[in-house]
């Protein structure tokens, strides 16, 4: 099982990296979601896999009876899931706001801080609020 799990993790990581290398911020976001899933799996698997024995202490006992699953990575992954969610929500808000302000989700076209050349600075490429919120899919529609 460990071998197969490791290969699956590799596949998820590879797809997420490919997505994060995309110019499109949405695809980047998808990559981020997949990557945090993959990393959580690695941490979880790092504590070794135990079938059918959750880390619980039965009534009347002072310690778990028999071998139970490793509790520590579970606690770590719980924390990681929540923080990953916080990161995702923030990134999503950032992408959303960027699109509303700049009218693009293409990271190469976001050049306010580092204009490609000085002319962009002068000719008002910096014009804010170019987006048309009524028609968000300007020129790149591909259908649902």
């Amino acid at each position: 099982m460990e071998l197969l799990l490791a290969i699956t993790i590799g596949i998820v990581v590879a797809t997420s990296v490919y997505l994060m290398l995309d110019r499109n911020a949405l695809r980047f976001l998808f990559g981020l979601v997949l990557l945090s899933n993959a990393v959580n799996l690695i941490i979880f698997a790092g504590g070794r896999l135990t079938v059918g024995a959750p880390p619980l202490i039965p009534d009347g006992a002072y310690a778990p009876v028999g071998v139970v699953a490793n509790a520590l990575p579970q606690a770590l992954v719980l924390t990681a899931i929540v923080i990953g969610f916080g990161l995702l929500a923030f990134t999503l808000a950032l992408v959303y706001r960027t699109f509303m302000t700049l009218g693009t989700v293409n990271s190469d076209e976001m050049r306010i801080a580092e204009p490609r050349d000085k002319r962009e600075l002068d000719t008002g490429r910096l014009g804010m609020g170019k987006a048309d919120p009524e028609h968000p899919a300007t020129g790149q529609e591909a259908g649902i």
Binding site: M1, L3, L4, A6, I9, I11, V12, V13, A14, T15, V17, Y18, M20, L21, N24, L26, V33, L34, A38, N40, L41, I42, F44, V51, G52, P55, L56, I57, P58, D59, Y62, A63, V68, A69, A71, L72, A75, V77, L78, T79, I81, F85, G86, L87, A89, F90, L92, A93, V95, Y96, M100, S107, D108, P133, P136, A137, Q140, A142, G143, I144
Partner: protein
């Protein structure tokens, strides 16, 4: 020095001024009191500073450091007294005093340090103080440029020297100079000797402004005159000379040492003498004569014979005395007449008799005319030059002849011409300077005469012990004014003749030099600017190359680095063996299905060009992951994962309502390079996970939590106990992160609500 600043009413510079005068004066007396002990032999004291690195704050007090310490504090007293009157009413005078005292401490530390690393630290203190002092008139662009030039040049030299010190320290096994200087034979025979030598000389040559690093010194004259007198003639620029003299027992007496020092020193001396003639600003003239002195000192330390060292040590004192006096004198003239132009100054002797006297004493010493101490110095220089072998003798003697003749001329230009003849018109009417400004030049000029008349005192107390320190062995030193009729005396007389002839025609020579300079293609100062521009161009090119501004590029580089570094380590360390025990046997069909679900889901996210399909596929992956948590005994994690996954899908779907569609998939949208990187990261991750899972497992921490969970925290769900009890602070941090993310998202989303239709 212009007086166009708002004056602040202070008597002798106020408290800052009094402190600045008392500090060097007290130290001077202290060192003077130690002098008789030093004549008998060197002393070493010290405390540990950074013991683990072998860095000690130790003091080496021998003839050489004593001579420097007396010059620093003695001339320092004259200069601070002078500055209190010269700049005492300047609004920034207290700042000036801070810089000057900082320099003084740095310079004293430099010459007294026995540990090379502390020597380096003090070396850089003087560099920084010099930067601040040259740039004291910070509203002048020229001052700022000169200050930066001096800082960059001497600072770089200092860093290079540090490299030499570290190598030498490792070769010798200690950073204490007093021990290294006794290992000279071992150091000279070491294969790294040449490297050490060149690194040290880079520091010494930049600090002491030897060709080709000489151009910063004339520019440093942008500093106020007392600073020029103190740092850029009497003390700081001699730090390089000090270093060479100090290292002579360890690095000196080799062919390389001899030729590098005598050739560069000689060229510096003669080039500077010629350049001195070309100047009309008498402060610039003096700046170039300082270069000439530094060149001569370098040359004689390089020559290395007993007479050469005596000549160098004598000339060191001689030069400091007359040059500081002349600079201070020029400050008075500038102050009193409003100009420093040699062509405008005439006949000041009646209006400024005491200034004239100080100028005469110093200039006669500079010209090397008896009975001044300058004559003693020159005699020994000739003697040293004639005492060398073969080509060295011709080279050194010729260089000294040329430089001395020029000194004679410059002495006349800076001290004879402005005071002789009829009074000429100057921007402000000439008047005598105040006593605090006159005291220094007069005392220094008087000392030039005193030491000339009784050279034995100088020889016994300063030059003798200093020579012992430089040579590393004891020889009797006997200085004298009259050595009988010999070759040196005849050369001296010839020098005067040549000097006199040159002085007669110096104005036409100056005109020709100016014309020649205008046509000459060699300009070090402009070259410096081109060098800096070149740096800027390279920096710009490199920034454009690395910082493309493309997020995609940065990400690709980061991931590729991960593949290369982690994968490379994996290969080099041969970590494949760790996971070999793992098999695919005994995998339940349900597990197969879940894993396949996850893999297919993530591939679908990449494959699809529909946002909704992608979101759904992400959900599939998330649910698959939570199924794995359930299968492997983590129900709490699985629940959280499921909840979060639902929230993610909802949030992303909501955002999709107003975000653009994904671009249509085309052949061009496949990126093979990125696919390669992504595949690499995936493969490396898989192998890492396999080797982690195949390694022995240390369960100690988990065992502790299992044992302590109920007895200590009264919880039966161990995961929950860890979260809210053992690692409660982490959980608190996690809550904070989520709260911050929510606040930041709120701030971002504010004002982006859909606009209402106008009608």
């Amino acid at each position: 020095m212009a007086d166009d600043y708002p004056k602040v009413d202070r008597v002798m510079g106020g408290p800052a001024g009094w402190i600045s005068i008392a500090f060097p004066a007290v130290l001077f007396l202290y060192f003077l009191g130690l002098l008789p002990q030093i004549v008998t032999g060197p002393q070493v004291h010290g405390i540990d500073w950074v013991p683990s690195l072998g860095i000690r704050l130790s003091v080496l007090l021998d003839g050489l450091s004593m001579t420097f310490a007396l010059l620093i504090t003695g001339i320092g007293t004259a200069v601070t007294l002078y500055s209190a009157r010269y700049l005492g009413q300047h609004p920034d005078y207290p700042r000036f005093v801070c810089y000057l005292l900082m320099f003084m401490v740095g310079m004293l530390g430099l010459v007294l340090a026995d540990n090379m690393i502390s020597l380096f630290v003090f070396w850089e203190v003087t560099t920084i103080a010099s930067y601040l002092l040259i740039g004291f008139n910070a509203d002048s662009a020229k001052s700022r440029r000169s200050a930066l030039q001096a800082l960059l040049l001497t600072g770089t030299g200092g860093l290079v020297m540090l490299g030499g010190m570290i190598i030498l320290g490792n070769v010798a096994g200690t950073f204490e100079l007093s021990q290294i200087l006794e290992m000279g034979d071992m150091v000279r025979a070491h294969p790294w000797y040449m490297g050490i030598l060149l690194l040290f000389l880079a520091g010494a040559f930049t600090k002491s402004a030897q060709v080709p690093f000489h151009f910063w010194l004339p520019n440093a004259m942008a500093a106020p005159t007392p600073v020029s007198a103190y740092l850029h003639s009497a003390t700081m620029v001699k730090a390089g000379v000090y270093l060479m003299a100090r290292m002579n027992p360890a690095l000196g007496s080799t062919e390389a040492w001899f030729w590098i020092l005598t050739i560069f020193g000689g060229i510096t001396a003669v080039l500077a003498s010629v350049m001195a003639l070309r100047q009309t600003d008498i402060k610039q003239t003096l700046a170039y004569t300082t270069l000439m002195a530094l060149g001569s000192l370098t040359m004689f330390i390089g020559a290395g014979t007993h007479y050469a060292i005596v000549a160098a040590m004598t000339f060191l004192v001689v030069h400091s005395l007359y040059k500081a006096a002349l600079f201070l004198m020029i400050g008075i003239v500038d102050h009193a007449t409003g100009t420093r132009d040699a062509t405008m100054l005439r006949g000041l002797r009646k209006a400024m008799p005491l200034t004239g006297l100080a100028a005469a004493l110093a200039a006669v010493s500079m010209a090397g005319i008896p009975p001044m101490v300058g004559f003693v110095g020159k005699e020994f220089m000739y003697k040293a030059g004639l005492g060398l072998d073969g080509f060295g003798a011709i080279w050194v003697t010729a260089m000294i002849f040329a430089a001395s003749a020029m000194m004679f001329v410059t002495g006349g230009i800076v001290a004879l011409k402005p005071f002789a003849g009829d009074l000429a018109e100057t921007p402000t009417p000439a008047h005598e300077g105040p006593w605090p400004m006159l005291a220094g030049p007069l005392v220094l000029g008087g000392l030039s005469l005193f030491f000339g008349l009784v050279p034995g005192v100088l020889g016994h107390y300063l030059v003798g012990p200093a020579t012992h320190a430089v040579e590393g062995e004891v020889h009797e030193v006997h200085l004298y004014l009259w050595g009988g009729v010999n070759t040196a005396l005849i050369l001296s007389l010839l020098t005067f003749l040549a000097g006199w002839l040159l002085y007669r025609s110096h104005e036409s020579i100056r005109a020709r030099l100016i014309a020649f300079e205008a046509r000459s293609p060699i300009d070090f100062d402009a070259g410096w600017d081109r060098l800096l521009d070149g740096f800027k161009a390279v920096a710009g090119w490199q920034t454009r190359l690395i910082q493309t501004g493309s997020l995609q590029r940065y990400m690709a580089v980061t991931f590729a680095s991960f593949v290369v570094l982690v994968g490379g380590t994996y290969l080099v360390k041969g970590a494949f063996g760790a996971g070999l025990g793992l098999t695919t046997a005994s995998v339940h069909p349900v597990q197969w299905t879940v894993l396949a679900l996850i893999a297919v889901g993530s591939i679908l996210v990449v494959w699809t060009h529909s946002r909704m399909t992608a979101v759904a596929a992400m959900g599939v992956v998330g649910i698959g992951v939570s199924l794995i948590f359930i299968m492997f005994s983590a129900p709490d994690v699985a629940i959280t994962q499921l909840l979060v996954e639902v929230l993610v899908v909802v949030l992303v779907s909501l955002a999709m309502l107003r975000l653009p569609y994904l671009p249509r998939r085309s052949k061009a949208s496949f990126r093979p390079g990125h696919a390669l990187i992504a595949g690499g990261v995936g493969v490396v991750t898989t192998f890492l996970t396999i080797s982690v899972l195949g390694s022995p497992f240390d369960r100690r921490l988990t065992t502790f939590f299992e044992a302590a969970s109920y007895p200590e925290a009264h919880g039966r769900n161990i995961v929950n106990v860890i979260l809210v009890d053992f690692r409660a602070l982490d959980t608190f941090g996690e809550i904070t992160v989520v709260a911050m993310a929510a606040l930041a998202a709120l701030a971002l989303l504010r004002g982006t609500a859909p606009r209402k239709e106008e009608n």
